[in-house]
Symmetry: C2
């Protein structure tokens, strides 16, 4: 009966998919990166930094909300090595360190604007 062929096709597909499935560890890490991009405030921070480094005050100004919340989000992005920081006088300047991530954000931005 027809279902048997389909069944075999699907099993074959499943095998292929499992073969090229990344390790649990890698999948976990991919998930963590996407999670870092899953909150509006963090996305805004990254978009604000895409033209170059900014101090916390300016970042706070750019995304609205209070300074403490921004600092907490900056920490998450830094812990994920998506941004880095350096001191300059009294200010701490943050900047993008992982440009792969920015590529992904740009891609996603394009898809959103052009295709939906």
């Amino acid at each position: 009966m027809k279902n048997c062929d389909e069944e075999e096709l699907h099993e074959e597909r499943l095998r292929r998919a499992l073969d090229k499935m990344p390790s649990d560890e890698n999948i976990e890490e991919m998930g963590l990166r996407f999670k870092a991009l899953s909150e509006s405030s963090r996305l805004k921070i990254l978009l604000a930094l895409s033209d170059g480094e900014l101090c916390v005050e300016h970042i706070t100004e750019a995304i609205g909300g209070n300074q403490s919340a921004v600092s907490h989000q900056l920490r998450i992005l830094k812990d994920n090595r998506i941004i880095k920081c350096r001191r300059s006088g009294k200010k701490i300047l943050y900047s993008i360190s992982d440009w792969h991530i920015m590529t992904i954000i740009e891609l996603s931005k394009e898809h959103l604007n052009c295709n939906e």
Copy 2:
């Protein structure tokens, strides 16, 4: 003093970044998409489906865990219009509907494997 120029440079940068900042609504939507990719089980489901449609039983087999958990995650992916489904006999076959998302996952997979 040197800090003044830097200050102006940064204000200018901030202005430029804000100018090309997507709307809150768009940023929100980007965040939602990334959130859908932020859990290992969902990523695994999408990777498993990247070779073609599969029924829930096979998906469950592919990612481990129990059927109910998989159904819940399938629902989230479907609500986000990342996957779709159709019935075939007794089975419900799920498949990718948003190939943009798969491009993003592939990109992220490459970055993970090659550059870190």
